[in-house]
């Protein structure tokens, strides 16, 4: 009789665990469905500004990805450069030609192509930084929210201290440290990695805080306590239940942070401590062109500047819309 009891309890335990896990899968399903629910889509279609922003972002991303194919020139192939072409103004001004629609820089590089390649680099670094920061921040946030206690306090204290220092400063610091520790010749190669690391370390806190707040709310709910009681493994609970609930706010943070990441990278490059001139991002291009501003060759820095501004602006618009759309209070 006792064996039947034991068997019964094991069976029900498995059944419950199964239920909790399939409920977990369902939660993911529901979470994704919630995002693409008609309410969100409706508010998206209703706002022409947002649709415009989305279109522009997509166009720029596509153009950047296809840079290799659609750029009229390869600005980084020294063999194809001709100094005689240097500092041509844009095509619609006297002295310009349609061979270089937006003009050329001091080395004869085509600005349009440089923008395309530069965008690719800027976007690439931005995305990488956001993904890594999200991974780091979400993980730490989940740990802090789930465990609570000392682990939570430590993580949050670090986060608090870090938050009071602006991202630029931290990014600069990390960059400076890397610069000091890495021998000079290797610097250009790992420059992009350093920039990504700098942005990640200065932006993970947003994700951690958001996720932690959401995790703490969910953690105390009854179905989570039930799952714990019947012995569902913590990892499963955290990933299957706590995580989907936090996805919405995290996505909002991620979108806004993408714009910030691109901006930070551009700023670092402009200041000379980001990407080197051999792998120019939009920021580096602007830096290059800055020297020629006073002599009247404005297009070298202004066009990349406009591209950068448009990119950041459209991503910000998307982020704003996303935040309003997912905010239960404003519905």
């Amino acid at each position: 009789m006792s064996s039947t009891l034991v068997c019964g309890s094991i069976a029900s335990r498995w059944a419950l665990a199964d239920l909790a896990s399939s409920a977990g899968a369902q939660r993911w399903h529901l979470a994704l469905h919630r995002v693409f629910d008609s309410d969100l889509w409706w508010s998206f279609r209703r706002s022409p500004v947002t649709v415009g922003a989305a279109v522009i972002s997509l166009v720029m991303v596509a153009a950047a990805l296809l840079a290799g194919w659609i750029a009229p020139h390869d600005p980084f192939d020294p063999a194809s450069l001709n100094l005689l072409d240097a500092t041509n103004p844009p095509a619609w001004l006297p002295g310009g030609s349609w061979r270089f629609p937006l003009g050329t820089d001091d080395q004869g590089r085509d600005i349009l192509s440089a923008i395309l390649y530069g965008s690719r680099l800027s976007l690439g670094i931005g995305f990488a930084a956001v993904l890594l920061a999200m991974a780091l921040g979400v993980t730490l946030g989940l740990i802090a929210g789930w465990r609570g206690g000392l682990v939570d306090t430590i993580i949050m204290r670090i986060a608090d201290v870090k938050l009071s220092f602006p991202a630029i400063l931290i990014a600069l610091l990390i960059d400076g440290v890397a610069r000091a520790m890495v021998p000079h010749d290797a610097q250009t190669e790992i420059a992009s990695l350093v920039v990504i690391a700098a942005i990640v370390l200065s932006s993970w806190v947003q994700y951690a805080r958001t996720v932690r707040a959401s995790a703490m709310v969910e953690r105390d709910k009854e179905y989570i306590q039930a799952a714990r009681m019947i012995g569902v493994r913590p990892v499963r609970i955290v990933v299957g239940h706590l995580l989907p609930n936090a996805i919405g706010p995290v996505l909002v943070v991620a979108t806004i942070n993408l714009a910030l990441a691109i901006l930070t990278e551009a700023t670092l490059s402009f200041l000379g401590v980001g990407l080197p001139p051999t792998q120019p991002s939009l920021g580096t291009l602007i830096r290059n062109g800055n020297d020629y501003l006073l002599s009247g060759d404005w297009w070298i820095s202004i066009f990349p500047g406009v591209a950068l501004a448009v990119l950041i602006l459209s991503i910000n618009l998307l982020g704003d819309w996303l935040r309003d759309a997912l905010n239960p209070k404003l519905r």
């Binding site: 009071s164 220092f165 000091a180 700023t267 501003l293 404005w298 950041i312 618009l317």
Partner: protein, 328 residues
Amino acid sequence: MLIFLARRLFQAVLVMLAVAFIAFALFNYVGDPIDSMVGQDTSLADRQQLRQELGLNDSFVVQFARFVGHAARGEFGLSYQQQRPVAQIILERMPATLELSFVSAALALALGVPMGIYTGLHRGSWLSQGLLGLSLVGVSLPTFLIGILLILVFSVDLKWLPSFGRGSVVHFGWWTSGLVTRDGWRAIIMPSVTLALFQMTLIMRLVRAEMIEVLRTDYIKFARARGLTNRAINFGHALKNTLVPVITVAGLQLGSIIAFAIITETVFQWPGMGLMFIQAVSSVDIPVMAAYLMLVGFFFVIINLVVDLLYHVIDPRLRIDREQVGIG
């Protein structure tokens, strides 16, 4: 109240020590201080002797203590680049940054707060929508791009304003001020506008969001039910409740102005601490970097402390004289 003050001071000291620790680690372990100070062909024996003289062979704790002691007295060692005391360089550059920061902060507040109030009160008006749109642009444009555009328009095209430097400055003791000369004012306009723009839009959005939240509260609803005039509600009640948390956040924003000054000073070649820091990062001038870090850390800690205290003073709910009175 005193307990609270003591506790915050203690926390502040802890944070400062943490910052000092990082600065110290930077100072001593990133790169070799000896290598940066002597030439390539100094003999090994000479280097060893130098290490001994500089106390680089002492234990970690001793070195750290020495570092903190020096820092407290304002000695940060010699700049690798310029071979002069870092403290001297900092003193030279500080007035420029501080003046720029204050003018920008004043500008950001003077414009940001009223705009925020207006857009919070008149949510649907076309002016509000316009301002909000512009604010989004302000948040999206990188600071350096704004600076470049301003230079393009006002220095290159119109030739009205200088594109770099501080203009003529006047010495008051160790302080140099550009605010007393006409030249200085012309020079500070573009940098301060550049620096203020980001802050201004942030403050405007903050004030607006807070105002909207406050206008949704029960006490505002009750004030309306009592028939108070719109003016009394908006400017008597809503405004005061909005500004209280805004003051604290705005105070914290002041800290980020100091950081963004780095960018602005670079664009305009403004001879402040930010430019000094960038140059130090480029040339790996560790002592200067460490000193800047400590200084900025100090500023932030002070600002945080003041803001906390201010909040306690302003909000009557947090004051000590709380008496819960008897029976309902």
